[in-house]
Amino acid sequence: MVKKGRIVSFFVILVIVAAIIGFTIKPLLHNVKLGLDLQGGFEVLYEVHAINENGQVSKATPSKGTLQDAVSTIRHRIDALGVNEPQVTIEGKDHIRVQLAGVKDQAKARKLLSTTANLSFRDVDNKLMMDGSELKPGSAKVGFDQANQPMVTMKLKDANKFAKVTKEILDKGAPNNKLVIWLDWKKGMTYAKEATKEKPDPAFISAPSVNEVIDSKDVQITGNFSVDEAKELSELLNAGALPVDMKEIYSTSVGAQFGQDALYDTVLAGAIGIAAIFLFMLLFYRFGGFIAAVSLAIYLWLVIAVFVGLQVVLTLPGIAALILGVGMAVDANIITLERIKDEIRTGKSILSAYKSGNKRSFSTILDANLTTLLAAIVMFVYGTSSVKGFAVLLIVSIVITFIASVFLSRLFLSLWVKSRVLDKKPRLFGVKESDIDEL
């Protein structure tokens, strides 16, 4: 007796699933975050050390607070660059990893990231008169002077301070009445040495002469800027100073075209590989292979959906892990189908072969997946950057493999087996009648 209801429910499920996949796959694929190796961009690992008030780099391990402050300042600066989804992470005791995918002007971005942006006002003898901490946070703006030259304007917290500073400079008398404005002054830099160089060589921004006491909260910095330079400086000042020394100890920068080619090649290879797997499964396991292929397709869709949901960044090794995950998902199906074949060969009916095959293969699949999961977790804990990304993908695929190839495949197969349509048709599972033991 054939129970048609179960076959109808299989097709209803199939149509619903196909519709969900069909409608969501495009928006999902658009929302997959691509790593910098797939869309161009750069990654830099910095070794971070605090800089003390005298501009000296401290050799000691920076405090946690210093690192966190540095990360938040870096984030602010990246916002000014307009990069989507930057990744700034603290690694170990004194490392910060910055990953910027899809950034257009890499050279500018890199420079912007590592500058300390420590503004200081000094006299001609390099004595510190006032520094960036006197400025009102977020007050830097681009303005234009009388000659319509771009400049940067800022507000001070305290007008008296500026009056005091300008008075002191004024009292030095010409030609020493200059207020030298520095960005990133380092010990050993002197006005006398830098002043002989032509712009853009001097390390200071400008050295205006002070001719009167300025009793105002407003400070203007002019310095032969272009509009872009003025904008960059104001953004830097608003993002705040980064009182640390950042040394690049690892970097990689990928051209946009390079990344796109890698993506295209790898996705093509993946598509060919997956199509070949489907074909293999159909040839070898017939009907069981068809069910496996359906659940594999759902597996792939689920993995992509989970990536988007968890905001996992897809990298080149990540795609490799995804494709290999297909292999693991197939394996679970193969283990089950081989077991069912074995049971059919012993002379059992399709239904009881299906039942005992499922039962017996479950612990095998569980043990096999759990041991691989162990390896993936260790990789996640001990790996850095690309290895870690690979591990995340592997963990996600193992979990979904388990869901797709155990529960989905079984659900689908059970609908068919229990409908009894497959009764006495061992060939549909790839078993020849002559191989079945006569009882």
Binding site: Y250, I334, L374
Partner: protein
């Protein structure tokens, strides 16, 4: 299926010998040829370019050297030699990288990927990879010990270390460059190798239960292992085939920048299926038999006295 009738235990000594020779060969090769460590494990700068058409490696070398750097390890790869790379033993700074990228873009038409690694980072990577392998091995032994038995855990780990070392041997012999992604491949193979071995041991566990208490002679152990392998061989081969298919596709069509990964996967998958069938299970039979004999002697002696 002829695979289902083969006597896998019969040639165990041959396979043990082959594997031992391979391990010795690997050790010798590591001493003589060493590993071709990329900058990820040492320090320096790597320059990769990928073009639409064939590239000239000499042009890349010349371009790099025109800026006063020494270009080492010039490599051409890709299906039509459209992927070229050189390494410099110097760690370039920001400005030097910009200058180099612009120069190569101007001279060759493609913007290169430039990576730099400082010595400390390279050492850390190698150290982390080493510990990852050791720690996952320990966890796997513990897990298999709980779910199966200690000797199976031990032989499974021997098999996986064998596979990992085999990949290292081939990379050393053929002088293929090793980079950070190689570590990921090595760790994946460890996962796969254990997966394969577990499936075989799972059958062994089942067959031992069926024969409960009747394991006396070495013949019995041989029979159990043979039967278990015969029952799982089709699955083992089919699984490795389905994983090999995408790996081969990645080797042929995939981006040359993950070639190291795919080569390592390819070698490791084959080693993995070989070691599960010819090393792990037979080795377990030999060790288990000796272990059981010793246990019996211990039990027998007190009774005699």
């Amino acid at each position: 299926m002829s695979f289902k009738k083969l006597n896998y235990m019969k040639y165990r000594k041959l396979f043990f010998t082959v594997s031992t020779i391979l391990v010795i060969l690997g050790i010798v090769s590591l001493f003589i040829f060493k590993m071709n460590l990329g900058i990820d494990f040492s320090s320096g700068t790597r320059v990769d370019i990928q073009g639409k058409h064939a590239l000239s490696i000499d042009k890349l070398t010349d371009t790099v050297e025109s800026l006063g750097y020494e270009a080492e390890r010039p490599t051409l790869a890709g299906n039509n030699n459209n992927f070229a790379s050189v390494t410099l033993n110097k760690v370039l700074n920001q400005d030097q990288i910009n200058q180099l990228q612009q120069k190569i873009q101007k001279d060759m038409g493609y913007k290169p990927t430039v990576s730099t690694v400082s010595p400390a980072v390279g050492r850390e990577l190698a150290k982390n990879a080493f510990w990852a392998v050791i720690i996952s091995s320990i966890f796997i032994i513990i897990y298999v010990w709980i779910r199966f038995e200690f000797l199976q855990g031990l032989t499974a780990v021997i098999a996986l270390l064998h596979d990992a070392f085999f990949i290292i041997t081939i990379f050393s012999l053929l002088h293929i460059e090793v980079n950070a992604v190689f570590i990921a491949a090595l760790l994946t193979i460890i996962g796969y190798s254990i997966n394969d071995t577990i499936v075989t041991f799972d059958r062994v566990r089942e067959n031992v239960k069926l024969k409960k208490g009747k394991l006396t002679s070495f013949e019995d152990y041989k029979e159990i292992v043979n039967k278990s392998i015969q029952q799982t061989i089709v699955r083992s081969i089919n699984t490795v085939l389905t994983v090999l298919i995408p790996v081969i596709a990645l080797l042929i069509f995939g981006s040359p920048s993950i070639r190291t990964f795919t080569i390592a996967m390819f070698i490791g998958l084959i080693a993995g299926v070989y070691s599960s069938i010819f090393i792990a299970a037979p080795l377990w039979a030999v060790m288990k038999f000796k272990h059981d004999q010793r246990q019996k002697k211990k039990k027998v002696r007190p009774q005699q006295s």
